[in-house]
């Protein structure tokens, strides 16, 4: 009683309602996803309650974890699904961070500035997309890098933003306990929203186009999928998401230096996490962030070695296990925590549609 899992949009799909078409049934997911949803809600509730029961050092670590997860998930959406490999997403991280700094210096609370910074990042993403949309693969990747560098060079010249020496974030006049708790809750909220947006996007009609692009961009184009407009949407979503991560970064650091906020090591983190965890799946960045985080906590005293090990592991995974650690898990266990595909039930099998 196994259904065949369909994720490519190239196959002809009957109506999503699961009406038999020639005796074949199509369902959204094989198993019930309700328990996954219940666990997710419970997990978020427990995570939300944490500041009352653990020390601030733990929540501060988790803020770093959420930041990495948000950035990696955005890069995964961009590169894993839309086929747009960028090494310049730090442009939006830096712009998000500086948006918060600017808004806070005009009296807005840094926490309420986050949605504004997110929207601003998305808005800047549109002209940037116009500039880079005609470029392919390597050209796209490295031009994004140039754009991040241009953003940094421009910010350095603005003396009211501290120039190259950096600027402190204002408006965080809370007690240390409250500040840590608020920062943590904000980080949790941003991460939950980002993951939810990705999940909804991938389960929508656009998700079909995105999975098709992931599997074969030329093929997707040839069956008439609107590849360009979907890529534009994803680029803007990723720009907004990275700006939100940058805003969060500003609040967690409380002091912003251009060379750090626009550092290419953000790209390195996003790329390594996604590749090691499993590119082109929602679960991949979760797995990758956990691995990355454990490595960071154990190896970071050794500075450069940590990056050398990560780089070698990422190269090896990219070549010999291109679906990443999560890919190795699904090959054996067939688990999907975020089901975005379809299941095809051959005629004669009486599978009830669930989920």
């Amino acid at each position: 009683m196994t259904g065949r899992h369909l994720e490519a949009a190239g196959a002809e799909l009957p109506a999503i309602g699961g009406q038999p078409a020639g005796g074949v049934r199509v369902t959204r997911s094989r198993r019930s996803v309700i328990w996954v949803g219940v666990v997710a809600v419970a997990l978020v509730a427990v995570l939300g309650y944490l500041p009352y029961i653990v020390f601030s050092s733990t929540t501060n670590l988790l803020v770093q974890f959420f930041l990495l997860l948000t950035m990696a998930s955005m890069w995964n959406l961009l590169a894993g699904y839309a086929g747009l490999v960028s090494v310049g997403q730090q442009a939006f991280i830096g712009l998000g961070a500086y948006s918060v700094v600017i808004l806070a210096s005009h009296g807005t609370s840094p926490f309420t500035a986050i949605p504004v910074a997110t929207a601003a990042g998305g808005a800047i993403g549109l002209p940037v997309w116009w500039l880079v949309s005609r470029l392919r693969s390597g050209y796209f990747a490295i031009t994004m890098w140039v754009i991040a560098s241009v953003c940094e060079l421009i910010i350095i010249q603005v003396s009211s933003l501290g120039g190259g020496t950096g600027i402190a974030l204002q408006g965080l006049n809370l007690s240390p306990t409250l500040l840590t708790a608020y920062t943590y809750w904000t980080a949790l909220a941003v991460t939950v929203v980002v993951i939810a947006v990705i999940y909804v996007l991938l389960r929508s009609r656009l998700g079909l186009v995105l999975t098709a692009i992931r599997d074969d961009e030329t093929g997707a184009r040839s069956i008439g999928a609107r590849v360009r407009s979907v890529q534009r949407l994803v680029f803007i979503v990723a720009a907004a998401g990275c700006s939100a991560a940058g805003a969060l970064y500003a609040i967690s650091q409380q002091f912003i230096v251009p060379s750090a906020a626009f550092s290419v090591s953000f790209s390195a983190e996003m790329i390594f996490i996604t590749i090691i965890g499993g590119i082109g799946t929602i679960e991949g960045p979760f797995v990758g962030t956990i691995v990355f985080f454990v490595l960071q906590q154990t190896l970071s005293q050794d500075g450069a070695w940590y990056w050398i090990v990560l780089g070698i592991v990422a190269m090896a995974v990219a070549i010999w296990a291109p679906r990443g650690l999560w890919g190795l898990v699904t090959e054996r266990l067939d688990i999907r925590l975020f089901p975005v595909g379809y299941w095809l039930w051959p005629a004669g099998q009486t599978a009830r549609r669930r989920g």
């Binding site: 990747a141 560098s149 421009i154 070549i319």
Partner: protein, 290 residues
């Protein structure tokens, strides 16, 4: 007169950028892949020269005799192993693997050579110069690097159009399957192209090490982006375009530096973005119907 001087100095440094760019351009032309570790490889060559000089006590200027062949061999070996394995997986994997290589190289250099700056000591050659009029001074080293860039580009042009391996490289670049049908082992041809590209990047790294100071991070912070910008400004797949692109980038930077020292790099990058908007196919290529 300041501006004339800025333009002349820009042309001089443009030769260096063209030297950096031609390896990147060649690899892209043959394999359709951008090597994101390109800038770091140039820095590795400069560090390798430091080692060669320390062991053999040859003058820094002659270190290329050893460094360039070593680098060409490394290029061939790396292409036949890691890069070919990545290429078999596709263009995006290759992009990610070269990015990983870049991070590994940069941090490896930091680990073994610290973050301190070094330079290749060539004695008084670095400051020897001659003057035209009262305000324009041209350093012999800069002029030598420009001439070297022209010679390398001419040599590469000649090699690609006349020699047997050059013809094979062009055949594989044009149509890999057809070349394979004619009995060409494209993996070996890729290896040869990589060897040449690594040789030129080693030359560029040595020239850079004599021209100014280098440290482990400069490969990604500056050199890769400059090389890429020179290729795009000049137009893809054109070696002479690469020279023009390098020179335009150098001139833009020197003119920017005349306004404000901080504008030097920004001016070059803005020129790149303008070219990208107005003439994405580069300066020297005629507009093609897409």
């Amino acid at each position: 007169m300041i501006w004339v001087n800025a333009i002349i100095q820009g042309i001089m440094v443009g030769g260096l950028y063209a030297l950096f760019a031609c390896g990147l351009s060649l690899l892209f032309g043959v394999m359709k892949v951008i090597n994101l570790a390109h800038g770091d490889l140039a820095v590795v060559a400069a560090y390798l020269a430091l080692g060669v000089i320390a062991i053999t006590h040859v003058p820094a200027v002659w270190s290329f005799v050893l460094v360039v062949p070593i680098f060409a061999a490394i290029g061939y070996a790396l292409q036949r192993t890691l890069l070919q394995a990545a290429l078999n997986r596709g263009v995006l994997t290759t992009l990610l693997v070269t990015f990983g290589l870049s991070v590994v190289i940069e941090n490896g250099l930091q680990q073994f050579f610290t973050a301190n700056s070094h330079s290749l000591n060539i004695g008084s050659l670095v400051s020897d110069s001659f003057s035209i009029g009262s305000q324009i001074t041209i350093a012999f080293l800069d002029l030598t690097i420009l001439v070297l860039a022209v010679v390398v580009l001419l040599g590469l042009q000649y090699f690609l159009s006349v020699s047997k391996n050059g013809r094979r490289i062009r055949a594989v670049a044009d149509d890999r399957e057809a070349a394979q049908l004619s009995g060409i082992d494209y993996r070996h041809v890729f290896g040869i192209a990589a060897a040449i590209a690594f040789g030129t990047v080693a030359l560029a790294g040595l020239a850079f090490g004599m021209y100014t100071q280098f440290d482990p991070t400069i490969g990604t912070d500056q050199l890769l982006l400059y090389a890429f910008e020179a290729v795009v400004i000049g137009g893809l797949g054109s070696l002479w375009g690469t020279l023009v692109g390098g020179i335009l980038l150098g001139v833009a930077q020197q003119i920017g530096a005349q306004y404000h020292a901080a504008d030097q790099i920004l001016a070059g990058q803005l020129l790149f973005l303008i070219i990208l908007v107005l003439r994405p196919q580069g300066i020297t290529r005629r507009r093609e119907t897409a």
